[in-house]
C-alpha cells in the first residue's frame, strides 16, 4: 500500500475523509514506520495548534454537550442526566473487555468516616484525658460526661440556650451581660448556644433567661470535676 508523506499530513490535519481516510488509517495500523511518522507529525501539530486553543471550563464543556444534545433532539431527561457527571470515567476492567463505569467518589466515604471517628473520639472523652485540669461538663440528670474543657472556667455552669429568632444582637448582648454569662460555643446546627455562667450566679442567670421572650428554651448542665 503506497502511502505518501502528503497522505500522512492530510491524515493528521483531518483533511482526509471517506475512503482515503480508511485507506491511510488501515496502512498506518499495519506499519510501525508509518505509526512513528504519524506520531511525530501529530506532536508537531499539537504544538502548533496549542496557542489557538481557548481555555474552557467544565461548565463550558457541559453547556456544549447539552447544546449538541438539544440540537439532536435527545430527550431532555436524558440530557439532564449528564449534568451531575463531571466526566470522571475509569475503565473498571479495562483489559477484560468489559465496559468502563463512572468512577465513584470513594474519598467521600473516607472523609465521612474520618469525621465520624473524630466526633466519637471527642465524645468518648479522649480530649479530657489530655486536659485533666479542665472542668468537665456533665448532664445534671445522669452525670454522663458530655463535654470537657473547651474554655469553660472551673466552677462554672454551662447552659444550652435557644435564642428567639427575632432577637437582635444588641438585645442578646444586654441579656448576657445582665446574666453574667458568656457564649462559649455556638450556634450549633440546631441553633443552640452554650453559655458559661459562674456557679454562684447560675440560678439567677437561669431565672433571667427563662423569664425573657428573647430565649425560647434553656437547658441546664452542671460542671463537675473529672
Amino acid at each position: 500500500m503506497n502511502i505518501s508523506k502528503d497522505d500522512l499530513i492530510d491524515f493528521v490535519s483531518g483533511s482526509l475523509g471517506g475512503a482515503d481516510f480508511a485507506r491511510v488509517s488501515l496502512a498506518v495500523s499495519q506499519d510501525s514506520n508509518l505509526q512513528n511518522e504519524v506520531a511525530a507529525l501529530e506532536m508537531l501539530r499539537s504544538r502548533l495548534a496549542l496557542p489557538h486553543e481557548p481555555v474552557l471550563t467544565d461548565k463550558d464543556n457541559e453547556a456544549a454537550a447539552l447544546r449538541a444534545l438539544s440540537g439532536l433532539g435527545v430527550p431532555h431527561e436524558l440530557a439532564a442526566a449528564s449534568e451531575p457527571q463531571r466526566t470522571r470515567y475509569v475503565p473498571t476492567t479495562h483489559e477484560n473487555g468489559k465496559a468502563w463505569k463512572p468512577k465513584k467518589m470513594r474519598w467521600l466515604y473516607g472523609a465521612f468516616a474520618a469525621q465520624t471517628l473524630c466526633l466519637l473520639w471527642l465524645a468518648a472523652g479522649m480530649l479530657p484525658s489530655l486536659q485533666k485540669d479542665k472542668p468537665v461538663l456533665v448532664s445534671a440528670a445522669d452525670s454522663e460526661v458530655l463535654y470537657r474543657g473547651m474554655g469553660v472556667p472551673a466552677g462554672h455552669v454551662v447552659l444550652v440556650v435557644n435564642f428567639a429568632p427575632d432577637a437582635s444582637e444588641k438585645q442578646l448582648r444586654g441579656l448576657l451581660l445582665d446574666a453574667g454569662a458568656i457564649i462559649v460555643f455556638g450556634p450549633s446546627q440546631l441553633g443552640e448556644y452554650r453559655i458559661s455562667v459562674a456557679g454562684n450566679l447560675a440560678d439567677a442567670a437561669l431565672q433571667k433567661l427563662q423569664g425573657t421572650a428573647l430565649v425560647e428554651g434553656v437547658k441546664t448542665f452542671a460542671l463537675a470535676k473529672p
Binding site: I9, D10, F11, V12, S13, G14, S15, G17, F21, S25, L26, V28, S29, S32, Q35, E37, V38, A39, A40, L41, E42, M43, L44, R45, S46, R47, L48, A49, L50, P51, H52, E53, P54, V55, L56, D58, D60, N61, E62, A64, A65, R67, A68, L69, G71, L72, V74, L78, A79, S82, Q85, T87, Y89, V90, P91, H94, E95, N96, A99, W100
Partner: protein, 214 residues
C-alpha cells in the same frame, strides 16, 4: 490482571456514544471542545461561528459514532478531527450562502472553493504566545524541545507548516493564502516537514534538549 485507573480511550467513548450514551458524549465533548474551537478560530472564524461549527461537529460525531471503525494503533482523534474539518467546511459554505458576513464570504472564490483568505488573520499570530495552559498531548519537557525545533524555521516555513498541519490546507490553498507561487509552497513544505520530523524524532528519543538543535 490488575485494574487500570485509566480514562477511557476515545474509541471506547465512541463505542458508548454509538449506543446513545450521553455521559460518554459529554466526556468526549470535554476533551475536544477546546481543540475543535481552536481549529475554528485558526481558520478565521469568530467565536460565535466557531462554536456553531464545533456544535455541528459534535452532532456529526453523535450521529456517526456507529460508523467509526477502530484501527489498531491508530487513535480515534484523527477520525474525530476529520469530522470537525467537515463541519468547518460546511460552516464556511453556510456563511457564503447566506451572505451574512461579507468578510467571511471572501474565503471562497467564484467556484465556491475555499480560497484560504481567512488565514491572513493569522499573519500576526505570535508563536511565543503561550498564555493558554497545556491542553494537548505534549509534556512540558518535550514542548521546550519542540520549541527549539520550530525556532529554527523561518517565519515563512513555520507558517507553511502551520497551515498544513493545523489548517489542513492543500498546497494550492496555501499558495493562495500567502501569495506565494505553488513551487515556493512545495519547497517550503518539503524543507519544513523534513527538518521538523528529524528534530521531533530527536525530541521523542530524548537525545535532544532545548533550542540548540544542530
Amino acid at each position: 490482571m490488575s485494574r487500570h485507573a485509566l480514562p477511557p480511550t476515545d474509541a471506547e467513548l465512541l463505542a458508548h456514544i454509538a449506543k446513545q450514551d450521553v455521559q460518554a458524549f459529554t466526556a468526549l465533548v470535554g476533551r475536544y471542545q477546546s481543540p475543535f474551537l481552536g481549529m475554528a478560530l485558526f481558520h478565521g472564524l469568530g467565536r460565535a461561528d466557531g462554536e456553531e461549527a464545533v456544535n455541528d461537529a459534535f452532532m456529526k460525531i453523535w450521529r456517526s459514532a456507529d460508523k467509526y471503525v477502530q484501527q489498531e494503533n491508530v487513535p480515534a482523534k484523527f477520525w474525530l478531527r476529520s469530522l470537525m474539518r467537515y463541519a468547518l467546511l460546511d460552516k464556511f459554505r453556510s456563511i457564503k450562502a447566506t451572505h451574512e458576513n461579507e468578510q467571511s464570504a471572501t474565503h471562497f472564490d467564484e467556484s465556491g472553493e475555499f480560497d484560504g483568505d481567512g488565514f491572513e488573520v493569522l499573519a500576526d499570530t505570535e508563536w511565543t504566545d503561550m498564555s493558554v495552559p497545556e491542553q494537548n498531548m505534549l509534556g512540558l519537557e518535550k514542548r521546550d524541545c519542540f520549541d527549539g525545533c520550530l525556532s529554527e524555521l523561518s517565519a515563512a516555513h513555520r507558517k507553511t507548516l502551520e497551515l498544513l498541519l493545523v489548517g489542513g490546507q492543500s498546497e494550492d490553498d496555501i499558495a493562495a493564502a500567502t501569495g506565494q507561487s505553488l513551487g515556493t509552497v512545495k519547497s517550503r513544505k518539503h524543507y519544513a516537514v523534513g527538518k521538523m520530523q528529524n528534530c521531533v524524532a530527536h525530541c521523542v528519543d530524548g537525545s535532544k534538549g532545548g533550542a540548540n538543535h544542530g
